[in-house]
Amino acid sequence: MRLDDVRIPDEDAAEDRAWHVARAAYESRAPAPHARRVPVRALVLAGAILAVAAAAASPPGRAVLSSVRKAIGEEHAARALTRLPTGGRLIVESSSGPWLVSEDGSKRLLGDFVDAAWSPHGLYVVATQADAVAAVDPGGRVRWSLARPSVRFARWGGSRTDTRIAYLARRRLRVVAGDGTGDRPACGSPTAAAVAPTWRPGPVHLLAYADAHGRISVVDTDTCSVSWRSSPIAGLRSLEWSDDGRRLLAVSRSGLTLFGVAAAHPLSVRPLARVAAAAFDPRSHRIGIVRGREVLLLDGDHLGRRPRRVFAGAGGFSDLAWSPDGRWLLVAWAGADQWLFLRPDGGGRVRAVGSIAEQFGGGRFPKLGGWCCPAQ
């Protein structure tokens, strides 16, 4: 028996990731050396100076962050969105309903829906009305719909051949198959928080959702076996799995909490106030964050490290979406009525597009609903 010879995929990288997590946890508990007391104001000032210097000095920071924008909006913004900078299609949620934006910049209003999300491979969209959940193809044709009261947060997951949609109806969690059959309360019909549930990528129908107490549960909706349930997290706003299914990111009013696949105890916690939105880079565990007046990047495997600021500007950012290839970060700058396409790894200038609200039917500044796969 030679169990020592069995090869574990990604073994060395796993050790490296685990060491960084363990080291961060160890250093946060290690006895601090005795230090002279330094006035808090001086520390805050020094920290602010260092943060600005670090952001400006790093090469990718220099490439994107030419200066901290004092005026609201990019001066040379395009007046219309003529194309996306890379492949894929984008859902945009406006006052008049969800729009699908194609790579060539063409836009299609899906219909009288409120909220929309992609199917796992971008073949369909699940959309909700106040009293219905519906599957719609990118051409706007409704493939099926299901009348249910007070529907919100429909999300689609699963493999190419067997998918499920989770959604809330009167705040109770329900699940329906991707073809619209088998609608039922999910595993005891728990009362859920007003947070979109999220499917772990892959063939097993593993769903993460937040209950009314702010506890996150990860449950197999076919067997109702619970993988784990976390302690309550106050002010939970969003949940998202990384594309490899190894990390679950919870964004709350106090910061970011990162979970693994197997355990309810967080792998790491990053206190960070005023986070408007955060999302995983589809190629890695890197996390894009919009927070007040800045756009940050944080390494999800080392949450304790200093985030890198890639852009800053007055007026406040509201939302973000990664391109499917992870090379572009779309940031919604509500205060400037602009979108910014940033290259988080540096190289190339910021591409700005103005008059966003007007381009999507007027009304309130639209929300980003997800930038998915190329047309199929």
């Binding site: 028996m1 030679r2 169990l3 020592d4 010879d5 069995v6 090869r7 574990i8 995929p9 990604d10 073994e11 796993a14 050790e15 990731r17 685990a18 060491w19 997590v21 363990a22 080291r23 946890a25 160890y26 250093e27 508990r29 290690a30 006895p31 493999s159 190419r160 051949t161 067997d162 063939p203 097993v204 129908h205 593993l206 197999d220 076919d222 067997t223 076996s225 619970v226 993988s227 490899d244 299914g245 190894r246 693994g260 696949v261 197997a262 355990a263 105890h265 792998l267």
Partner: protein, 171 residues
């Protein structure tokens, strides 16, 4: 067994006092086998990484109250193996859902190794005692203590597990 005896106690003492290098020495000594043990029970590299990582985080949380007279390894391995058994049991309940689907290219790529494939056919409880005996090299008596099982149960699981493995590999 990695890091045993006086050196281990000295490293634990230093790690408790805040020495990152001693903590890293403990981590590097124990991670490979903890990770491997979890993997051989759950057969899922992402879950194994999380289970082993979580065991180390539990060790860090308990560092200040850890009983210095007891060795670190068995304490860590008990956490790893028990969590791996729990995870594998929960996973087994989900297996039926996968039968409906076409085999995806990445469905179970990790089972190419014949030893691993044979081990996967055993129950998580049988896998655990075999891993503890033949990877981590504990005696049946020590395994009984780690898993809170009668020694006779450990012996019978070892025997049945090894018989089953031998049959699987011969096929």
């Amino acid at each position: 067994m990695a890091g045993s005896g006086r050196h281990e106690r000295s490293r634990l003492r230093a790690a408790r006092a805040g020495s990152v290098s001693d903590f890293e020495a403990l981590f590097r000594a124990y991670w490979p086998r903890a990770h491997r043990a979890a993997y051989l029970v759950v057969h899922d590299s992402a879950a194994a990484e999380d289970i082993a990582q979580e065991a180390f985080l539990a060790a860090i949380r308990a560092l200040d109250r850890f009983d210095r007279s007891r060795p670190f390894g068995p304490w860590l391995h008990r956490i790893v193996v028990n969590r791996a058994i729990d995870w594998a049991r929960a996973r087994a309940l989900r297996a039926e859902a996968e039968l409906d689907e076409r085999p995806a290219p990445d469905a179970r790529p990790e089972l190419d190794d014949p030893t691993l494939a044979a081990l996967a056919r055993l129950s998580p409880e049988h896998r655990a005692v075999i891993v503890l005996r033949h990877l981590l090299e504990y005696t049946p008596g020590e395994i009984a203590e780690l898993l809170d099982l009668p020694r006779g149960t450990v012996n019978s699981r070892l025997r049945r597990g090894l018989d089953e493995l031998a049959r699987s590999v011969e096929r």
